[in-house]
Symmetry: C3
Amino acid sequence: MSLTPDLRHAVADLYAAYAACLDDGRYEEWPAFFTADGWYRVVARENFDRDLPLSVISLKGRPMMVDRVVGITSTIFHAPYYQRHIVGLPVLAVADDATIHASVNYAVFRTKRDMAAEIYNVGQYIDKIDFEDGKLKFKKKFCVYDNDLIPNSMIYPI
Amino acid sequence: MSLTPDLRHAVADLYAAYAACLDDGRYEEWPAFFTADGWYRVVARENFDRDLPLSVISLKGRPMMVDRVVGITSTIFHAPYYQRHIVGLPVLAVADDATIHASVNYAVFRTKRDMAAEIYNVGQYIDKIDFEDGKLKFKKKFCVYDNDLIPNSMIYPI
Amino acid sequence: MSLTPDLRHAVADLYAAYAACLDDGRYEEWPAFFTADGWYRVVARENFDRDLPLSVISLKGRPMMVDRVVGITSTIFHAPYYQRHIVGLPVLAVADDATIHASVNYAVFRTKRDMAAEIYNVGQYIDKIDFEDGKLKFKKKFCVYDNDLIPNSMIYPI
């Protein structure tokens, strides 16, 4: 498999749809962006660079993600906030086994009710993307963020 | 009409040119980004989500936009500021009538003279794009922003 | 030469790779993004618009860039910080001599150890891109930033 224009556009569409899903608050659709055995992890750059295992959150497999969504939407008590993702141009490569390796810079802005928008999380998605049932899905999605200091807690996916 | 690579690039070019026009301060060129009957509206997400009509600004048709530009450039008294748009990856679909539906995240940074840059407006363009005289133009451009709190007033288009 | 989809993707890849190089801190690879006689300049918008020569930094030719990298990595004493570039959609044109003219909005976020991320530099790349040894390189890269006020000093390239 090579980086054809069609594949590039499909990858760009995946990132755009992922951001729109989260920013619209359609959290119940979020696990479907991953393969069945997908791994979602949010980790500070400092830990990631040193290969330390500590993460803010690490979910392996869609069932764990579905569980997290239940937490977000019905269990966890938190002040609501809006997220807004701005995703940059991706650095892409295709591995021998047809897995797409993508790294993409992102900035997530947060807006709380009656407050100004603020920088919430900036970093890099370091992802592996595979086809599952003919659709591109994240087999691995690491959100490696620069800012060790997370304002309040992190409720919604990044 | 389908989402060919050429059409995708033309849409990306439209958004890039739109941002450059505003950030360069070429406001007199701004109405030409819309169809003759185009609708430009800036609305808080809270109002938009509840289908409430209240907007910060709502201009229907190019003449109203031209009028607004006269206001911006010669009538309204305000402290000057720079705008800088960062526009994300678009979510695109083509409707039966060949209209392109686009939603695109944006962040606008504002810099006032001798001040630090700040987050001015973050949100989502929810747009309909049509061909007019062989060029892509906005038939509808809704700037749905997350931050209810607008720092000072909004002078320039978003 | 015309703006084929392949050329567009190559330009997007160049910008994505440039940002990744800097954000990863691989400064020694940075000069190779320029042609041998490339010109890198960081200039305030106010000066640029008035055609004033004053720049924060202006490096002509790869040797000056290599020298700067030595400064960054071994000579200059400074508190470390992370950079994160978000690069927008490019406005592209191809000149008669096959040079690509690109202008692209960017926002650079900075994160200092144990601090929140902040807006560091926002502006526009105004670039000329040429082929050298079959690869796209910057013949000219002007980083024209909106915010006259630079928080602390500027150590790393923008």
